[in-house]
C-alpha cells in the first residue's frame, strides 16, 4: 500500500495500565482505507483493551485513560465515550450481542436512529413524539443487509433468530451508519456455522472494496489468511508481529501467539505418570448450560492422585466443566466418583462426597466478603462436615468451637502467607491475591478427596501466583488429593499439572502430558473453536 499517504487510522505508542499492572506497551499500528487487519493473540494478550481504547469505552477513562496518541486522517483524537467514536466513523460489533430481544431485525438495525415523520403533537412537545417512518426504516435496513450480501428476514424477531442471523443484524446496524469508516469485529465468526462464516468473510471483502477499514479479531486463523491483507499478533500486551497476510501461515501465527521464550524452559516440574493409577472420577457425556461457557458431550477420566489441568480459550467451555459437575449450573450426563454415581445439579451432594471447589468468581461465590477470615475458612467445614463444633446435650445443641476455628485459620494464614491484620479481619479488606488464598484455605479446611480449582491465579500478581500454585502442588503431594485445575494460562498449567486436557468448542479436543510443547497445546486450543 502507499505509505506516503496519510493513513486513515494510526496508533502511536499506545500504553495502558490498570492500577500499575501494565497491559499494553507501545502499540504502533497504521491502517489505510480498505485495509482488513486480522488481530490475534491469546486471551489476555490485550486485544480487547486495545479495541476498547480505540472505541472510547468508559472503563478505559474510568481507570486512568491511556498513554500515546490515536490519529484519524492524521488528526489526533481522544474519545471519552463510544458515542464520540461512533460519530468519528468507528463501529464495533462486540462478542456479546447488543440487541433488543423483542424487536425485529429492522428495529434493531436502526435502534435510536429511526427515520421519523413530524406531526402536530411533536411540534408542541418536541421531536421525541415524531412517529416512526416504517417504510423508510425498512428501506434503510434492507440496504444495510444488502451490503453484507446475506439474506436475513428483516421482520423476524431477534429472539426467534438463529445466532448467525443475530450476528448479521449487529453488523448490519454498524453498516447502516453513513459515517462508518472503521469497523471492529470482535470474534464475529465464533457463533457462526461454517457457511455463515463464509458469507461473513465475503461481506468483509465487500466492505473493504467500499473503502471501509475492518479490524477483525478471531481465533480461526485460516479466516485471517483468507480475508485479511495484514496480520497483527499480540502477546502479553505487546504487538509482537505485524506482517502482510501473504507472508504468514497458520503455523507462524500460532507460534507468534503462544511462543513466549519457549526455549528458555520454564517447565519446572516433570510430569508424573499416572497411566496405571486407578480412575477416581469419571465424567461421561456431560453437558452444562453455563452462559458463555457451554459444555457439550464431554468425557473425561481423572486418575487418583494426579493434577489434571483443563485449558482452552475463554468461552470454549472450560469453566463449564467444574461448575457443571459441582451443580452450580444446569447440567446433564453421568459423573462417577470412586465407583459411586454423583447426582448432578445438587451442590450439597457433591460436597458430601468430599469434593471441594474453588470458584473463579471468588467475590461472588467464593467468599463471605463481610465476614472475618475465621468465618470464611471454617464456614463450609462447619456447615458440611460438622467440624469445629462442640456438642452439648448429646448433639442437641451445637456450639461453635471458636478456639479450633482460630487455630486452623492461623495455621493457613501462616502456611499460605495471607497478608492480613488478624484472623478477625473482614475478607473484603484483603487484596485479590490474598482473597484467593483464603478461598484455597477454605477448600483445604474441608480436607476434600477431590479438589476443583478454577482460574486460581486470575487477577493476582506474580508473587501470589507462585505461592498459590505451590500450595496447590503441596496439598496434592502431601495429602494425596486429586486436583482438577482450570486455567487460561497454558504456562501455568504446564508448570503445575501432570496432564493437560484442552477444551475447544465445548468439547475435549485432546489430552496431552504437561511436558508437551506449547505449540502442540496451542494447536489443540484452536482446533475446533466455535
Amino acid at each position: 500500500m502507499n505509505n506516503e499517504r496519510v493513513p486513515l487510522l494510526e496508533m502511536r505508542n499506545i500504553k495502558k495500565d490498570f492500577f500499575g499492572n501494565q497491559v499494553l506497551t507501545d502499540i504502533n499500528l497504521k491502517l489505510n482505507e480498505g485495509d482488513v487487519l486480522g488481530l490475534c493473540g491469546e486471551n489476555g494478550a490485550g486485544k480487547s483493551t486495545l479495541m476498547k481504547i480505540l472505541f472510547g469505552a468508559s472503563d478505559i477513562s474510568s481507570t486512568g485513560g491511556y498513554g500515546g496518541d490515536i490519529l484519524i486522517d492524521g488528526k489526533k483524537v481522544a474519545f471519552s465515550s463510544p458515542f464520540e467514536a461512533i460519530a468519528a466513523g468507528i463501529g464495533m460489533v462486540h462478542q456479546e450481542f447488543s440487541l433488543i430481544p423483542g424487536f425485529d431485525a429492522t428495529e434493531n438495525i436502526l435502534l435510536n436512529r429511526e427515520p421519523k415523520k413530524g406531526n402536530l403533537v411533536s411540534e408542541v412537545f418536541g421531536d421525541r413524539l415524531d412517529t416512526l417512518d416504517r417504510k423508510e426504516m425498512d428501506e434503510r435496513a434492507r440496504k444495510a443487509i444488502e451490503i453484507m450480501g446475506v439474506s436475513i428476514d428483516q421482520h423476524m424477531m431477534i429472539n426467534s433468530m438463529p445466532v448467525g442471523h443475530k450476528q448479521f443484524t449487529e453488523i448490519a446496524r454498524e453498516l447502516s451508519k453513513d459515517q462508518l469508516r472503521i469497523l471492529i469485529l470482535d470474534e464475529p465468526t465464533a457463533v457462526l456455522t461454517e457457511k455463515e462464516a463464509e458469507a461473513l468473510l465475503d461481506s468483509i471483502r465487500g466492505m473493504s472494496e467500499r473503502g471501509i477499514t475492518v479490524i477483525f479479531i478471531t481465533h480461526r486463523l485460516h479466516e485471517i489468511l483468507s480475508v485479511c491483507n495484514k496480520v497483527a499478533v499480540m502477546r502479553d500486551g505487546v504487538l509482537v508481529k505485524e506482517v502482510p497476510a501473504k507472508e504468514a501461515s497458520v503455523e507462524d501465527i500460532t507460534h507468534w501467539m503462544v511462543g513466549r521464550d519457549v526455549k528458555g524452559g520454564g517447565t519446572a516440574v516433570k510430569s508424573r505418570d499416572f497411566s496405571n493409577a486407578r480412575t477416581i472420577l469419571n465424567i461421561e457425556k456431560l453437558w452444562v448450560d453455563m452462559p458463555g461457557e457451554t459444555v457439550r458431550n464431554v468425557n473425561l477420566e481423572v486418575k487418583e492422585g494426579e493434577i489434571l489441568g483443563i485449558g482452552g480459550l475463554a468461552g470454549q467451555g472450560k469453566l463449564g466443566i467444574p461448575n457443571g459437575v459441582m451443580g452450580l449450573y444446569e447440567a446433564g450426563g453421568k459423573v462417577t466418583f470412586d465407583g459411586k454415581e454423583i447426582p448432578l445439579n445438587n451442590p450439597r451432594k457433591c460436597l458430601d462426597s468430599s469434593f471441594a471447589f474453588v470458584s473463579e468468581d471468588r467475590r461472588g461465590v467464593g467468599l463471605l466478603l463481610d465476614e472475618s477470615l475465621e468465618w470464611n475458612v471454617a464456614f463450609p467445614a462447619m456447615q458440611i462436615q460438622n467440624k469445629f463444633l462442640t456438642k452439648y446435650l448429646g448433639g442437641l445443641i451445637k456450639w461453635r468451637d471458636e478456639k479450633a476455628i482460630r487455630e486452623v485459620t492461623e495455621k493457613y494464614i501462616d502456611e499460605l502467607k495471607i497478608k492480613c491484620t488478624s484472623s478477625k479481619q473482614n475478607a473484603r479488606e484483603l487484596s485479590g491475591g490474598n482473597q484467593q488464598k483464603v478461598c484455597l484455605a477454605k477448600a483445604f479446611a474441608l480436607e476434600p478427596r477431590m479438589l476443583f480449582v478454577s482460574e486460581p491465579t486470575r487477577g493476582i500478581d506474580v508473587g501470589a501466583k507462585a505461592l498459590v500454585l505451590d500450595a496447590l502442588k503441596k496439598f496434592n503431594r502431601e495429602n494425596g488429593v486429586t486436583v482438577v485445575m482450570i486455567s487460561s494460562e497454558l504456562e501455568e498449567l504446564r508448570q503445575t499439572c501432570d496432564r493437560i486436557a484442552i477444551v475447544s468448542g465445548g468439547k475435549i479436543s485432546g489430552i496431552l502430558p504437561a511436558s508437551s510443547s506449547v505449540e502442540d497445546l496451542g494447536t489443540l486450543m484452536l482446533s475446533n473453536v466455535i
Binding site: 429511526e114 413524539l129 416512526l132 457439550r296 458431550n297 446433564g332
Partner: protein, 391 residues
C-alpha cells in the same frame, strides 16, 4: 398417564391454557357465581357497563410504565391523590359540572407531574424492584397527602366552605360531596339500550385514550420505551437516555391516572378523602392481571377483559356468598382476598415461566447432544447403505 397423552397430542392447547390460566380461572369462578347470585342479566350488564366506564381509564394508565419495563407499578396511586386534591379545590371554588371536571383535570396535572418525577427518580434508583418500591412509596406519599389535607388545608391553604372543612376549622371532612358533578360526564350523551344505561361520552374518552396509546407506541418515544423495557443496557449503548425515558413513562402514568381518578370519582359522586386512593392501585393491578397481562406485557385487550372479569366477580361474589352462607360479609372478604391472591399467583407464574425458559435451554443442549450421537450413528449406517447400493 392419560392426561400426558392428551397434552402431548395437542401442545397448542396446553400452551393456550398455560398462557391464559388466570383469565380462565376467573371465567370459571364467574360462571359458578353468576347463577348463585340470583342477579338478573339486565342488572348484571348494567353494573358491568357502569364499572367499565368508572375503571377502564385508570387501568389504562398502567400500560405505559409496563411498556417501559417498569412492571406493575403503584405510581398511579400518586396520580389518584393529585386528582383528589384538585377535586377538593374545585369543589371549594364551587365550579360545577363538566367545567369543574375539566378544571380539576388541569389543576391535577402539575401535581401529578411533580409526584411523577419524584417517583420516577426514586424508581431509577431501584431498577428491577419497581413494584415493591412504588408500593411502599405510595404509603409514604399518602402520609404527605394526609398532612396536606388534614392539617394544611384550611389553615395555610385557603378553603372557604364549611361543608368541606372539619368543624375545628381546618382539615377536610371524611367525605367531600361531588353532587354537582355526579355522573355529569356519564349522563351527557348517555343512551339506554334495553334498560342498560351506556355512558357514551365516558366511553368515547376511554376510546380516545386507547387510540392515543396505540399512536404513542408508534412514536419515537414509544419505541424508545419499548427498547428500554426490554434491555436497558442495549438501549443505553444505542444512545437512548434510559433514566429520562423511564421518568417520562411514570409521569405519563401519574397524569393519566389523575384523569382516570376524576372520571372514577364523578361516577361515585363523592370523595372518601382518606381512603379513595388507598386500594385503587391494588384493584387496578389485579384487574389487569386477571385480564391476562404479565409483569412485562400488557395490552389494551387485557385491560377490557380484566375489567369485565374482575368486576363481574366483584359484583356477584358478595351476592353468591350471601346466598350460600347467609352472610354478605363473606363475599366482601372474598373479593379483597381474591385480588391479593391474583397478584401473588401472577407474580409466581411470571417467575416460574422465566425459570422454565431457562430450563429448556439446558434441555435443548441435551437434545442436541443426543441428536448428534444419533446422527453420527445414522451417518455410518447411511454410508454403509450407500456403499451397498453402489455395489
Amino acid at each position: 398417564m392419560k392426561k400426558d397423552n392428551k397434552t402431548k397430542s395437542s401442545p397448542d392447547m396446553r400452551f393456550i391454557i398455560q398462557k391464559f390460566s388466570v383469565p380462565l380461572m376467573f371465567i370459571i369462578i364467574c360462571a359458578i357465581c353468576i347463577p348463585l347470585s340470583g342477579l338478573s342479566a339486565n342488572m348484571l350488564i348494567n353494573e358491568i357497563v357502569t364499572r367499565m366506564g368508572r375503571n377502564a381509564f385508570l387501568i389504562l394508565s398502567l400500560l405505559i410504565p409496563i411498556m417501559a419495563g417498569m412492571g406493575l407499578n403503584f405510581g398511579m396511586t400518586l396520580g389518584a391523590m393529585a386528582a383528589e386534591i384538585a377535586l377538593i379545590f374545585v369543589a371549594d371554588w364551587q365550579i360545577v359540572g363538566i367545567p369543574g371536571m375539566v378544571l380539576a383535570a388541569i389543576v391535577s396535572v402539575p401535581i401529578s407531574v411533580l409526584l411523577g418525577i419524584f417517583c420516577g427518580k426514586i424508581l431509577n434508583e431501584a431498577k428491577g424492584r419497581e413494584m415493591i418500591t412504588s408500593y411502599i412509596m405510595s404509603f409514604f406519599v399518602n402520609g404527605i397527602y394526609q398532612l396536606v389535607v388534614l392539617y394544611l388545608m384550611g389553615s395555610i391553604i385557603p378553603i372557604k366552605h364549611g361543608a368541606i372543612k372539619l368543624p375545628r376549622g381546618y382539615g377536610i371532612r371524611n367525605t367531600v360531596s361531588l353532587l354537582s358533578m355526579r355522573q355529569k360526564l356519564d349522563n351527557l350523551l348517555a343512551i339506554n339500550i334495553g334498560g342498560v344505561k351506556i355512558p357514551v361520552l365516558t366511553f368515547i374518552i376511554i376510546a380516545l385514550l386507547c387510540l392515543f396509546i396505540v399512536w404513542f407506541s408508534k412514536t419515537k418515544l414509544g419505541q424508545d420505551m419499548r427498547a428500554v423495557g426490554q434491555d436497558m443496557d442495549v438501549a443505553r449503548d444505542a444512545g437512548i437516555n434510559v433514566e429520562r425515558t423511564r421518568i417520562i413513562s411514570i409521569v405519563m402514568s401519574t397524569v393519566l391516572a389523575g384523569f382516570g381518578m376524576i372520571i372514577y370519582l364523578q361516577n361515585m359522586g363523592n370523595i372518601a378523602t382518606y381512603s379513595a386512593h388507598s386500594q385503587i392501585g391494588m384493584f387496578c393491578i389485579a384487574a389487569l392481571l386477571v385480564g391476562g397481562a404479565s409483569v412485562d406485557r400488557a395490552t389494551i385487550g387485557n385491560v377490557f377483559l380484566g375489567v369485565i372479569l374482575f368486576h363481574t366477580m366483584f359484583i356477584v361474589a358478595p351476592k353468591a356468598g350471601a346466598a350460600i352462607t347467609g352472610d354478605s360479609m363473606i363475599g366482601e372478604y372474598f373479593r379483597v382476598f381474591v385480588s391479593y391472591a391474583v397478584i401473588t399467583v401472577a407474580l409466581i407464574m411470571y417467575e416460574t415461566n422465566k425459570r422454565r425458559a431457562k430450563k429448556t435451554a439446558g434441555q435443548q443442549l441435551a437434545e442436541a447432544q443426543k441428536a448428534e450421537e444419533a446422527g453420527a450413528a445414522a451417518g455410518t449406517t447411511q454410508a454403509d447403505n450407500a456403499g451397498k447400493e453402489k455395489a
